[in-house]
């Protein structure tokens, strides 16, 4: 599922995009194979399969399918749409608000943190009506009280 009202790609871009996609996927796989898995997983001398077996196997399969995808896309370029970059500011704002809210929960527990979270995310998505904003904050506060009281 692609997002937004993307634009149709031109001929050269149709070939450039699969190469870029392949380069990103393949290089991330190489990093996993050479850095993440060896540094994060010890070899075990126990019986049975190595703990690295499945992580390595999955990465190799991904690399294989990345190569296959590149060949298919170069031979038969698909009519894909370029992802729309409009509205990414909103995504960044919401992410930032959520991160700050999560940090507040970590520092000041659920009640205060949750209230800050809904206040910031509401501001981030463009809520400017003071009355609506206050209602949202108060209802969230009541809900969080209920969660705390229920012991969830």
């Amino acid at each position: 599922m692609n997002i937004g009202n993307g634009q149709q790609q031109g001929g050269s871009e149709r070939k450039f995009r699969p190469i870029c996609e392949f380069a990103i996927v393949f290089s991330l796989c190489l990093i996993c194979l050479t850095v993440t898995i060896p540094n994060g997983t010890q070899q075990s001398e126990n019986f049975g399969l190595s703990p690295r077996m499945l992580p390595v196997a999955t990465i190799v399969i991904i690399m294989g399918f990345a190569v296959l995808g590149l060949i298919v896309n170069l031979v038969r370029p698909a009519k894909t749409t370029k992802p729309d970059s409009n509205g990414l500011t909103g995504v960044l704002l919401v992410c930032a608000a959520t991160l700050i809210g999560a940090w507040t929960i970590y520092q000041f527990e659920l009640l205060i943190g949750g209230t800050v979270l809904i206040f910031l995310t509401a501001l981030a998505v463009g809520m400017r009506n003071i009355l609506h904003l206050s209602l949202m904050v108060l209802s969230a506060l009541a809900l969080l009280f209920l969660v705390e009281w229920a012991g969830l």
Partner: protein
Amino acid sequence: MDTFLQGATDALQLSSITAVIAGIFLGYAVGVLPGLSRPAALSVAVPITYAMSPIAAIAFLVGVTKASAAGGATGAILLNTPGEPSSAATTFDGHPLAKKGEATRALKVALYASVFGDLSATLVLILLAAPLASFALKMGPVEMVSVMIFALTFIAALSGSSLTRGVISGVFGLFLATVGLDPESATPRMTFGMIELFDGIPLIAATVGMLAFTEMLIQTQTMFAERKTGIVTARFADETNKLLSRSDILRVFPVTLRATGIGIGAGILPGLGPTIGAFLSYAINKRIAKPGDCYGKGDLKGVAATEAADNAVLPASLIPLFAIGLPGSVSAAILVSAFMLHGVQPGPLVFEQHPRLIYGIYVSMIVASLVMLVVGRLGLTLFARATRLPLIVIIPYVILFCVVGTYLQRDTIFPVLAMLALGGIGFIMQRYGYSVITFLIGFVVGPLFELSLRQALIVTNHSVSQVTQHPIAMVFLAASVIAVIFFVKRKA
């Protein structure tokens, strides 16, 4: 018969029925809200039952479990944010239906299919517990690996327009599922000294992050893009038809029946659980779709396929629990603790030691299904109104539930950070056509697949030829090969 009537009388007492109703309300709330999981709600509910009679306690917990399974569909259909991981597959057709202006019809099918699946599985539990449990005992590691391989072949069927991207997403899910302690040697894998990662990436963080949080980011982008360009498209078409016709019911019924069977199978086999059951059911029904069916684009059949299977799992998972003392799902395992709290040891002797209680539980389960139907039907109109709320209000609340729900899993910030990170990854994946659904199938199936594979290798002494001595495994492997051939032919 006397014992049955005594049990039924216990189940129909006011205290038991009140407990069921309370459980249904709690379960619905847990099911609707993303992040609050069924096992978490059950864990909290078990101590509450301490002062209740055994029958009222179990009835309450059964109510919580059943309603949370049914309630999970509401968020999936209306907001594309499933309340439960097992309702993730309901988003495939449920949300497109809501967009087409058929939210009420989708919610109705979800409710009726849920109740049908649940009620049928309960009747199977009552009538066939012993013979089905003996079948479950025949499912060793080799058989489980073959079932998992069968489940993984469906990644191809659900991969969307690009097979390679779908498979890459699924295998990426398998890869992330390997984070944590190695199941055989307990060696930490890719944990980098973080104790929180020893149990792996939390499933609830993965499902909430990949589905609910990602969806909110997508909706935010769409909303901001519309503000910038000034072109506003309606989120949902007007609801012109809210009724289910006779032809709709006749069309959906065979799928519901099939899905119930698949759900019962997934419940009986320990470890599979409702999420795999729902995905399997959707993929199988999609694969055998008739001309004119439009799975993935908003078909009532798709909603019935996942919801009936999801709700059939719990009653079926009680079959091995009652017959041989082996819980078939996480929820059933938590129910064991409730049984023990009230002095009942589940297992083959339970029918001899507590026949009145068991019959009482059976009747309570049927009562719970009927109460669920009434509560769900009454709440349906209210739920459907959620589509009228503006995004500017929905997004902050859903994000709050995502964060609070994942935070409550462990009372630490780690699952929240994992959820946010996976939400970001999910957003990028969706943006470039990588399916988050196949990712989740790989992630859910991964741990059980690896464990079964390792056990199978030990059982067969690393000899592939020994598989021929396992006829059930051979059947599933043959089915996997046929499924792959069928899919490749269809794509060609």
